[in-house]
Symmetry: C2
Subunit: 212 residues, 2 copies
């Protein structure tokens, strides 16, 4: 997309026009993501990113003083937005959809790039990218889980006391744990099992005993 | 303990008697744990471990060809045993006790040593120590959770269909997640909240509706 805008602009303008602003930034960030997916953190160079964006490395360094700065922004720009909270009429459907979106974020090309970067780079740099996961995936999904559970309480398919912070950590905890320990990539069957056999029992209202 | 046995043996025997077998191994492993807690993975040397165990480095290398082999065994020997499944009469009490024991394992001196080793050493070596966590903490605690839940089903304070593998991953998942993301060290209040507000609601039987 950036390339075609550039080509169209170049055709319309003198050859000396350079890309500026957001168009060039987007091209550089896309190139960084491409490099991450192909040669990884270790293979990525500022020169290689610049070449992939058809620009000079000065243009890259002007905006991103270091490799970590560039990669952090590429990941932030690339990770899919989790969008607004799903509203499909039941806690079960809403949670299922939310889990699929989280999986989409973590197992998208940028998500894979993020996790292989974490694997390759040294500990100090990895901290920087843990912050990206926290802000781009964990905190937004926490807000969406809370919203979906609140709606369930209003609707009546979630018990009113399902308000502990820990409730909203169960799914991310399971996802992280099973990814690390079992290498799980969260297939639909596993998401279904988490929703049907863990979250729905955890959240359902307790029937009031009938009066004698 | 090893030191006093050695001293007693030395007093009883000619000076040329050297410690052998398990006594010497225990002294070396203790010394390795001590080194890990004080100077960490990077500071630990085979010579330093040998000196701390009042032996020569040949005695160390004879048994442990590499630093990882030695540290892996030191951690295995040092991590507390989770013991038999607690049986305190209710799922709530049993889970609480199990969580405290898991915390004890991960936040013991060897547990801290393990986690700081994971933090300091390079990725290939860290894989070796992840295997120690898996075998020494994760798999045993999984068995104990299953046992405690089975007993709950028999007793009647756990619903009979609480048999999904994921049920037994909820607590380890929460522990790992909250440790990494929030830096939690699992104080008693947090364990109580996990048991009372997550596990008990998740596991409790669903009352059968009264017949009309």
């Amino acid at each position: 997309m950036a390339t075609s805008r550039w080509t169209a602009a170049a055709e319309a303008q003198p050859v000396s026009l350079r890309r500026r602003g957001l168009v060039l930034e987007r091209a550089i960030l896309d190139s960084a993501l491409e490099q991450l997916s192909t040669v990884g953190w270790n293979g990525l160079t500022m020169e290689g990113v610049a070449a992939g964006a058809q620009t000079g490395k000065a243009a890259v360094y002007r905006r991103w003083p270091s490799k970590e700065d560039l990669v952090a922004d590429a990941l932030k720009a690339g990770l899919p937005d989790l969008a607004d909270a799903p509203d499909r009429g039941s806690i079960r459907e809403d949670l299922y959809e939310l889990c699929r979106r989280m999986r989409g974020a973590m197992y998208s090309r940028p998500g894979f790039a993020l996790r292989s970067v974490l694997h390759e780079c040294d500990k100090g740099v990895a901290e920087r990218f843990h912050a990206v996961i926290l802000r781009q995936v964990i905190e937004p999904s926490n807000r969406l889980f809370r919203e979906v559970v609140s709606r369930g309480i209003e609707r009546g398919d979630v018990r009113p006391d399902a308000t502990s912070d820990l409730v909203f950590d169960v799914i991310p905890g399971l996802m992280m744990y099973r990814s690390k320990v079992c290498g799980s990539e969260w297939p639909d069957e596993e998401i279904t099992e988490v929703v049907d056999r863990i979250m729905v029992p955890l959240l359902r209202p307790v029937p009031t005993p009938a009066a004698d």
